[in-house]
């Protein structure tokens, strides 16, 4: 067990645990904050795996923007502040969801574990440095990059259009 593995393991456990609390918690805002913890530890995982830029982008966008949006939405929809049992679906649905979740995890994990076996990798941190990433994005991936910009623009306009106030003046 190398140091990298131990670090990876700790961050992974943190991510999974906080994810669990995020989806089973009873206070909405706490759920959103536990999501922050989960996303942050995933950023750490990316770092361990040698992807610096990805980790930073994760923190910037996911933690900085997405979770903020989630918190805004919770406020605007008057989410209950106090602990509420009504956040969860009826028990039957929860049991079904648990079954499906376990099944998905089992299938994905099982298939991949069979494929991967006992192999190990050497992490090369240089590969995730800004310069190679930037060269890749603005070199081979420039077209998807531009399309994604358009996509973001479209999403922005769509969000505006959907929530526009339509009563005639």
């Amino acid at each position: 067990m190398s140091g990298q593995e131990i670090l990876f393991g700790a961050l992974a456990v943190l991510a999974v645990a906080s994810g669990l609390i995020a989806v089973t918690g009873t206070r909405v805002v706490h759920c959103a904050l536990w999501l922050v913890v989960s996303l942050g530890s995933l950023a750490g995982v990316y770092l361990v795996l040698g992807a610096e830029v990805v980790a930073l982008v994760q923190l910037l966008v996911y933690v900085g923007a997405v979770v903020v949006l989630v918190l805004f939405a919770l406020m605007l929809t008057r989410a209950p502040i106090s602990p509420s049992r009504r956040l969860d679906a009826p028990p039957a649905q929860r049991i079904a969801a648990a079954v499906v979740g376990v099944a998905v995890a089992g299938v994905v994990g099982g298939a991949l574990m069979i494929a991967v076996g006992d192999t190990a990798i050497q992490v090369d941190a240089g590969r995730g440095a800004p310069r190679p990433i930037a060269t890749a994005i603005f070199g081979g991936w420039v077209l998807p990059f531009e399309i994604l910009s358009v996509l973001l623009l479209a999403a922005l306009i769509a969000a505006l259009a959907v929530t526009r106030d339509r009563t005639p003046r």
Partner: protein
Amino acid sequence: MRQNAALLTVVIPAVFAAFGLATGRISRPWAEQSALVGTGAALAAAVVELLAVLRDGPAGAVGFLGRVDTGAAVINLDLRADQLSATVGVAVGVVALCVQIYSTAYLAGEGTPEAPTRYPAYAATVTMFTAAMMLVIHADDLVALLIGWEAMGLASYLLVGHHSERPAARAAAVKAFLVTRVGDLGVLMAVVVLLIGAGTTSISSLTARAAADDLPGTVLAGAAVLLLAGVAGKSAQFPLHTWLPDAMEGPTPISALIHAATMVAAGVFLVARLLPLYLVVPGALGVAAVIAAISMLGAALAALAQDDLKRLLAWSTISQVAYMLGGVAVARDAGGAAPGIFHLLSHAAFKALLFLVAGCVIHVTGSTMLTDMGGLRRTHRWLSWVLALGLASLAGLPPLSGFWSKEAVLTAADDAAHAGAWTGWVVLLSGLATTLVTGLYAGRAWSMVALGSPRPAQMQVGDAVTEEPHETPAPEQDVHKLPAAMTWPLVVLAIPTLLLGLVLIRPSDLLAEMHVDIVTGVTGALLALAGLGWALSAPRLGAIDISAALPAPARVLLRDGYRLDDVQRALVVRPAMAVARSVRSGDRDVIDAYVRGVARASRWAGGVARRAQGGLATGYVAWAVFGAVVVGVAGMVIT
């Protein structure tokens, strides 16, 4: 000549029936003319055939509907022209023409919207019936005869139920059809037996081979007995007689034509035609004699207690047809059918006359019940004398035709009895008893209709011009006049009723083997007179109706025809309806239940399936993910 004439007697009315049916709706005169011309031409053809046959002898093998090769045998649907067919053909033609003329007045006008007369259909059906009867008479092949036989049954059904707006008429038509159908099944099976057993259904070849003892006994016996079932059905003999009294729901001219003169005689005609077969089968004629004896006496007694004039005449017909059948049943050789045939001819004349007179009386009084009639002697004297003529011939008073024909039958029975046949005794004794009872009910009919005081209905002013009053009870009252079309046929039919006995002076070959024994004749005449006198003496005893002398329960039993209708209903109708009901409930509750069950199962399945559409978005996602997992696992397992 004979062949063409025989062919024309069948073809002409058939063509005119079709023509009348097609065009009668256009105008009533067209319907009338096509019926009258068709029937008249058929009569003319029958007369020509009779003259030709008398001069040249019989002729067979007149091709009519060609030949049919069934594989097992060849059926030649041919006609035959001989004395029997020609004579009966002339009788049928005369009665049919009289009935057609009479009907133009009986069914005059359009009727009311609730009870239309529907004359064009009626006239065409009567013409069609005439064609069918001519076919039965002239057929030389049992299959051709069967075609005419069934067509007659159809025409009888249509005509009995002519006033189809009345439920009683509809029920009577169905009953007539079904009861005769039971008999017709016997005829059909007999045809099949003969086809398979003897290889032919040609009447001339069958009679020739039977006379030469060339046919297997079992085949003959089976065919003979089965044919007797058809005879009993069509000729309204016990036990298939129950349809005839109810068939009086039809118009009175129909009763005159079908149920007095022609169709009911067709059964006897069939036995006469196939007499050589019957002579060879031991016991067949015995069965016929027993049926005839029972029907003769039983029907005469029932006629005594009827309250309805037409039903009285219907029971009388059953009794007289039994005479005919009895006359044929005592035959001892091939020519021995003569008494039965002679009685057929004379009965055709006087019974048709009686029915048409009854129609006039009903027309005048507006009711068919004897209690609503009376005093005809004073309001319509001529009509009452014609009625007397018919009733006297029915009773068998000399020198009328009924006397000669009935005594011929009784003489033949007497001869057979003295020759040692038990059938002769049976027919003779029941015949003599029936003569007495016939006199009784004939006298009763006359005293109830003609004697006494007239009912007010007879005195109403008619819609026709009144002729010079013959015997008005009071000068200020006008009597209901009968149209000429209803009176002239009575004259035409009265002539043979009076004079048919003259045939015995120089009989043709057909009627040669017939004579009247003087002892039997005197006995019969005395019995008839006794009956008539007894009935006519009733007024002296206080009532006008002699049947009031019967004890009331007996009278009711006789009037209801010995409750045989109820027996029939219990034995046949109720089981059949029960079977029908069980079949219907089987179809509805068992088979339909499956069909309904399919529908219900589909709805239930739909209800279950629709629960998957919960409306919850995450629910749909769950199903999608679950499906993806299943596909993934399946993919992994398969590979």
